[in-house]
């Protein structure tokens, strides 16, 4: 079985976020790491494609030929990676990105495509379904458990009220939530092996896409303004001297909640 995992390489979320003042897009310069949300997809894929002849391929779009985040996924055990890097891609919106990823995924001819439900930095949460539609595949989003059953993928899909058991024929796109599986840490051996695993570097032209469909040129949306929002004033912060509970009670009484 061939499983593709889409991996996003993002600035360290622990560092304060910043915008490019000229374009109002997220500043993605500096070192990139694999989005923590993608750890779960990579781990899930490795567990599902653990048999003889099974293979996990990572697909990522990133500026400047960035591979540091991909190496993390390769160190966890993915066999190879496809990286799409092209100056024409700067400023792509989610749909433009979906077109690029869909074209790259097609090359890997997967039985299953696994993605995070949403990225940590952009969190649009629509890209996986856009990719599925562009590939003509069914999709099951918000998976909290996944199993393979013959030619079907069985998913427990989180809903507003609980969860649904869903059965879907493959090939299919499945998005995973963070709790789906406990990701492994790359071993030293894995980290060493990752250095020599193949990474196919592709451009927009390699994928047969027109540069006018992607990047700023293809984006159908623009940010017109970014401003600081009204800060919520912080109130009274006190150390608990054994009277913490009483202070809460007094506050609730004042609010007439009790």
């Amino acid at each position: 079985m061939n499983v593709v995992v889409c991996v996003k390489q993002i600035p360290d979320p622990a560092a304060p976020g910043a915008l490019n003042p000229e374009t109002n897009t997220l500043n993605r310069s500096g070192k990139l790491i694999m989005d923590d949300s993608d750890n779960y997809g990579v781990e899930m894929a490795l567990q599902l494609a653990g048999g003889e002849g099974d293979e996990v391929t990572l697909v990522s779009m990133a500026p400047g030929g960035e591979t540091s985040g991909l190496r993390t996924g390769l160190a966890m055990g993915a066999a190879r990676a496809i990286l799409i890097s092209d100056d024409a891609l700067a400023g792509s919106d989610a749909l433009g990105t979906a077109k690029v990823l869909a074209a790259a995924i097609k090359r890997a001819n997967p039985d299953l495509v696994v993605m995070a439900t949403e990225s940590t930095d952009g969190y649009t949460g629509t890209l996986p379904v856009q990719v599925a539609e562009l590939l003509g595949l069914p999709s099951v989003t918000f998976a909290k458990a996944i199993a393979i059953d013959g030619g079907n993928v069985k998913v427990e899909r989180q809903t507003e009220a609980g969860f649904d058991e869903v059965v879907c024929p493959m090939p299919a796109v499945v998005t995973v939530t963070a709790g789906v599986v406990e990701p492994r840490y790359p071993s030293f051996k894995g980290i060493m092996a990752a250095k020599s695993k193949p990474v196919d570097n592709l451009t927009v032209a390699d994928l047969g896409l027109d540069a006018s469909q992607v990047g700023v040129a293809g984006s159908g949306q623009e940010i017109t303004d970014v401003s600081e929002s009204e800060a919520r004033g912080s109130g009274e912060i006190v150390e608990d001297e054994g009277d913490g509970a009483q202070r809460v009670v007094a506050f609730l009484e004042q609010l007439k909640v009790i």
């Binding site: 749909l95 890209l127 949306q221 970014v226 929002s229």
Partner: protein, 322 residues
């Protein structure tokens, strides 16, 4: 009116339009001359009165979907209406699991991008949307360029739901065309979690727990306190991911948006992921042992202390008051 026609994706649950649906209809009314809804399921005809009362003149009924996931057929039906010459200027879609599926499918079908995480809409020269950035410290304003309907995925509780007293919406059948391989996923079993007390996103009081509780068993303290305050029990993403509590309790970016009268955050540091979902609460009480936790920056009352001491004492005090 700057905008001619707006569609609202109308979700239903427990036999009625969901609260976010009514919020979006109310907002759509203030933005556009004509408001129409798109709905599916078996209750659409019964819900037409409520949809009309909140502003929809017409509801396009995709019909009963059986065991299919809604994303593909609902988007296909909407695309067919649009291709048939009935295009709205904007489509407002709730930021729910099914709403996001519809948005993604429709976006790719129409070759139109989506603006997500919308918390405000401004009609002027076209329609602009507002989005919280960095956990809400900044607001970005965005708009679509080019022709075609604008797809906006809107967070719950961004707008107030207010009835307009309109007549029942006219129900127009809009069955989904065959979507081939894309619509082959089937729901084989539905599970609804049992709930006692008010709904998380409708409760006047929400008590949430986070990693600071130390272990899963301590979540019982959160449930006890919530019950004593006639509130609902919520959770940070960290403890949902850790498997302590089900996802339906999650408050935040990937979970529910809540705006209760009182929000009590216990052992929650206040990651941006969490703040986005609860910052709009009227009053916020935070209990956390780390003085520098970001949650204190939004708290009206902050107790720097150990939740393992403060919570049991608080529960006892409330019990004593009866």
């Amino acid at each position: 009116m700057a905008i001619g026609k707006v569609w609202v994706l109308a979700e239903a649950g427990e036999g009625a339009p969901t609260p976010v649906t009514l919020e979006l209809l109310s907002e759509a009314r203030s933005l556009a001359g004509t408001v129409e809804a798109v709905a599916w399921g078996s209750d659409t005809a019964a819900n037409a009165a409520t949809l009309g009362e909140y502003g929809a003149t017409t509801v396009y009924d995709v019909g009963e979907l059986g065991d299919a996931l809604p994303g593909v057929p609902v988007a296909a039906a909407m695309a067919a209406l649009i291709e048939g010459g009935n295009a709205p200027d904007a489509i407002l879609i709730p930021a729910t699991t099914d709403g996001r599926d519809v948005a993604g499918r429709l976006s790719a079908k129409l070759d139109r991008p989506v603006l997500t995480n919308v918390t405000g809409l401004v009609a002027g020269d076209g329609l602009s949307s507002q989005h919280p950035l960095f956990g809400g410290s900044h607001i970005a304003t965005a708009r679509f360029t080019g022709a075609g309907p604008g797809l906006f995925v809107v967070r719950a509780k961004s707008f107030a739901a207010e009835p307009s007293g309109g007549a029942a919406a006219a129900v127009v059948a809009a069955p989904a065309p065959d979507a081939g391989a894309t619509s082959t996923a089937r729901i084989v079993q539905r599970h609804e979690e049992e709930r006692s007390g008010p709904k998380l996103d409708e409760a006047a009081v929400v008590v949430s727990g986070g990693r600071g509780l130390g272990e899963a068993a301590n979540y019982a303290l959160i449930e006890q306190l919530a019950k004593l305050l006639n509130g609902a029990a919520g959770a940070s993403r960290a403890i949902v991911d850790a498997g302590w509590v089900p996802y339906s309790h999650q408050v935040g970016q990937t979970g529910k948006t809540v705006k209760p009268t009182v929000y009590v955050a216990c052992g929650i540091s206040g990651a941006t992921q969490h703040l986005v979902g609860m910052k709009g609460s009227k009053n916020i009480i935070a209990i956390n042992k780390d003085r520098d936790a970001p949650i204190f920056s939004v708290a009206d009352l902050g107790i720097v202390g150990d939740v393992h001491k403060v919570l049991p004492a608080l529960i006892e005090a409330l019990k004593a008051k009866g």
